[in-house]
Structures are given as C-alpha cells and as structure tokens.
C-alpha cells in the first residue's frame, strides 16, 4: 500500500460506533530521542537527514507498525501534508518540515511515528472513542519495540530526555477529543475549562496547540510529564473525561427540559443551512455540522445518521475537499464545492436512512 492509497481512503479515526457520541478519539503521544544525535531543532538539516536515513529502515521493520508506509516530508506535496494534518497524523510543525523529516504509519492509521519533528521520534496511537488505556497499552508496546532497535536518550532521574523540558519524564501526552455542544449551549463550558486547568490538564481546540475550539470540539490532555506514572496520568484523564461526558449528557437533558424550543430551532437552522447553502466556509461547515451532530445524537433529526455527519466533518476540511476534487481550489471555489458536497452528502444520507427505515417496518 502506498501513501496515495491511504490518502485516497477516508480516515479511519472518525468512524465512530453508537457508543461514542461524546468522546470522539483517544490519543497517546510519546516523545523520544536518540542518545547520540543533537535534537532536530538544533542539529541542522545534515544531521536530520542522517537520523532519518538511519531510522527509516529500522522503523519500517518494527512489528507493530506492519503493514507500514514510510514517507519523507520532502516526498509529499502541500495537499498531501494538509490531509495528513487534518487526520491528525502529522502536526502543523511537521507539515512545514522538508528533507530529513518523515512519517512511518501503519496502514490503518491507528499507529504512527513522526521522525524529526520537535523530537527525533513522536510515537502516536489514535483510538476511536474512549479508550485511552488501550491506546497507552499499544503505545507502550510499540515504544518497547522501537527501543529494541535504537538507543534512547534517558536519564534515571529525569526519564526520557526531550528537546523541550515541558515534555521530559514520561514524554507522554495523553488526550481525548470530545464533542461538547450541550455544555457550550448551556454556557457551562468555561468553568469546566478553568477547573481542568487547576488540576493540571490543558484544553485545546480540534487541531491542537494554539487553536480555538471550533465545532464544539475540545481536546483535553495532561500538562505535566514528570513525577507521575504513565498509567496514573492515563487513568486520571479517563476518569475526568468520563465525568465531563456525564456533565455533557446532563446539559443535553436540561436543554431538552428548559430550552426545548431553542434547541430544536438551533439544530433545525443548522440542518436548514447545510441542506440549502451554496457557499460554506470551513469554520461555518464545522460549526453547523457540529450542531447537526447534536441533533442526530438527541434524536431531534432522524433523517440522517451520525456516520453521514462524521464523514462530512472530515470531508469538508480543505485538504480532503481538494483531494476529492482532484485539484487545488481557490478559497471561493472551495466554499462553493464544500456546500455542494454537503448538500449531496446529506441528501444521500437521507435516502440511505429512508431505505434503512423501510427495511425495519
């Protein structure tokens, strides 16, 4: 399988089952470095090329990465990078890198390793729904397999040594991506974000560091990496995420109870615009699809299912949209084609749902 095949398929990570309406994905990221080389940001491109040439064949043989695809950042065009970014397989920082940086990825996209981003290795496990423990178990095993073919920079006192001292220790960032429209509509999200900050957790938007929470998507992750065991950090975030899920469910119930008309109007407007708009920006599409997703989850909209909405959430991103169209689009054309894709997608979803409904009667 080549990177093109992967890019032409829709991302596996957004395929959610009925269980996970609120927690969309769980993710573990481990920062690791090689003992003998300067960190990527300091070593210069020649050094980075040496490291990539050294690591690429070794990583390509790691059992848990099979069947793997490995690709250098200089072998990808801007659109490919944009798609990998939208699927959370590379970071913004990695997308800007060229020769000497790369990506090794298992073809199901659940497991990947970025080489020469901020650290020599950034190991990632991405799981659907709430499964941070499972993701950590897999990341731990993958890390041990990589450790067997390289020599990590490690200090008995400080743990895994990272380029930025904010990551030293476990080098682990554990995060859950949550869809919290109920808490946003009930205006209860800010105290929660503040409270999470007080207990050492960070809340970010859909695309990580420095992004705002569009589409009511929030990413909750640990801030500290030193002085706690990985399993404790993971257990702690899972428990907190579970509590946030309960808050969100509660907020949705209260919306129905106290603001039913407002809620129906809010969801109905989103659905109306999505099915009739001829120009949609990325942000508007994301926000409206998020509202529609809430309507589907609460049974207010039954004409489409959540899978249709989740697919559109991914396919309306600029990279995916242009890949589907097979060419680079100007922003104005993008908004027109995005709106067209959304109208078509929802209409197909409605047909599918009607057929599905009939077969049940």
């Amino acid at each position: 399988m080549s990177i093109d095949t992967l890019l032409n398929n829709t991302g596996a990570w957004m395929s959610s089952s009925d269980r996970d309406q609120i927690v969309i994905t769980s993710r573990i990221r481990l920062a690791r470095n090689l003992k003998e080389y300067a960190f990527p940001g300091w070593g210069g491109q020649e050094e980075r090329v040496r490291i990539w040439l050294n690591l690429r064949p070794r990583l390509a043989r790691v059992p848990l990465l099979q069947p793997e695809i490995d690709v250098g950042m200089d072998e990808l065009d801007e659109l490919d990078k944009q798609i990998l970014l939208e699927r959370h397989l590379i970071s913004r920082e990695q997308a800007e890198k060229g020769k000497g940086s790369g990506l090794i990825i298992r073809s199901d996209e659940a497991v990947s390793v970025m080489v020469n981003e901020e650290d020599h290795l950034r190991i990632q496990v991405l799981a659907s729904g709430m499964d941070l423990r499972g993701a950590w178990a897999l990341a731990d095993e993958l890390d041990s397999q990589i450790e067997a073919v390289t020599e990590y920079a490690f200090s008995p006192d400080l743990g895994y040594l990272t380029s930025c001292p904010t990551n030293v220790g476990t080098g682990m960032r554990a995060s859950v991506m949550m869809h919290l429209p109920g808490l946003v509509l009930m205006e209860e999200i800010n105290p929660i974000i503040k409270g999470l900050g007080k207990i050492g957790l960070t809340v970010r938007g859909l695309w990580g560091e420095g992004t705002e929470a569009t589409g009511n998507m929030f990413q909750v992750s640990n801030q500290m990496t030193l002085g706690e065991k990985e399993a404790e950090i993971v257990g702690n975030i899972e428990q907190i995420a579970q509590e946030i899920v309960e808050h969100e469910k509660n907020a949705r119930l209260r919306l129905l109870e106290k603001k039913e008309l407002y809620l129906h109007d809010h969801v109905g407007r989103a659905y109306g615009i999505l099915t009739h708009a001829h120009l949609l920006s990325t942000k508007e599409a994301l926000d409206l699809l998020s509202d529609l997703r809430l309507g589907v989850d609460m049974g207010i909209v039954s004409a489409v299912d959540r899978k249709t909405v989740d697919e559109l959430l991914m396919l309306t991103q600029p990279g995916h949209l242009q890949k589907m169209e097979g060419r680079i689009l100007k922003p104005k054309d993008r908004d027109r084609i995005r709106a067209k894709r959304v109208r078509e997608g929802l209409s197909r979803g409605e047909k599918k749902q009607r057929k599905h409904g009939k077969s049940h009667e």
Binding site: A38, L158, G159, Q223, L226, G227
Partner: protein
C-alpha cells in the same frame, strides 16, 4: 502598566498560563517580548521564558564566560531564546537551571514512569546506591563501623557498575 522586563515601556503583550494549578501572568512590551525570542504567532509558554526573566535581573554584568554544551555547543543564551535543549547532554550542562524550570512545569523533578529495558539495570543500580548511602549514614550514626565498612565496599562496587553501564 509597565513592562516587567525593561520597566520603562508600556506593556502591550499580556500572557497568562496555568502552571501547576496557579495562574501566572506576565506583562511585557513589544520590544522585550521580541527580544526574548517570543513568537507571538506561535504557541506561547511562559515557562519557556521564565529562565530568561530570572537572569535579566541577576547577571547583568555577565563577566563570566558563557556556559555551553560540550557536545552540541548550545550556549545558555541559545536555550533561553528557544526554550529547547540542543541534545541529551544539555540536561547535564544546564543542570543548575533545571530545578527551578522543572518545578514550574511539573509535579516533581523526578521521573517515576517507564524505564527502557536496557536502562533498567542502571536505574536499579542508582536506586540501590541511594539506599546504600542512607544505610551507610545510619551505620556511622550508630557507630557500627564494621557494618559501615561492608556497606562502603558495596557502594564502591555499585559505582563501578554504574560507570561501566
């Protein structure tokens, strides 16, 4: 409000970050924020420049030659500017700066998580060394010199083991 660094210009850059449960605020003028390698477009972390702030006040004359990493040649000013180390050895080179920095960022300054398999022996030896040193102090305190001598031998062995690994 005046800039907390130069104390002359009006502060126009205001940063807030939650570090270990408490809110830290920093008010800077445009020039100082730029001078300290502060990219306003990029992700912001006060902790990245905590170090820079401290030294501004302390070592203004800067008479002593600047410390730099023997392996990757990163200088202390380079680290202050970027907030990133140059290589693994920098953690030893700049060990003096670390405790304050790590305390601001983390729960403690000691790793208790996963240990790579090939490092396990070294980590165990380090733990054993700490344990033996405590035992030695205790033995000396109790004037149990025979015991102390035997512990000292084990400490020497443990040190050699650590050196070899």
């Amino acid at each position: 409000m005046l800039c907390e660094m130069c104390k002359t210009q009006e502060a126009t850059v205001h940063l807030t970050q939650v570090v270990d449960g408490s809110i830290k605020k920093l008010h800077l003028c445009e020039a100082c924020s730029q001078k300290h390698g502060f990219d306003l477009q990029g992700p912001i972390s006060i902790t990245d420049i905590l170090l820079g702030m401290g030294s501004q006040r302390e070592d203004k004359p800067a008479a002593t030659p600047e410390r730099s990493c023997p392996r990757c040649h990163m200088r202390r000013t380079d680290f202050k500017k970027t907030g990133r180390f140059g290589c693994a050895a920098c953690y030893e080179t700049f060990a003096d700066d670390l405790p304050a920095l790590l305390r601001a960022m983390h729960r403690t300054d000691r790793h208790i998580g996963k240990v790579p398999a090939r490092e396990a022996a070294r980590v165990n030896a380090t733990l054993e060394l700490t344990r033996l040193q405590d035992a030695l102090e205790k033995a000396i305190g109790e004037e149990n010199y025979e015991e102390a001598a035997s512990i000292r031998d084990r400490i020497t062995m443990c040190r050699e083991q650590l050196k070899a690994s």
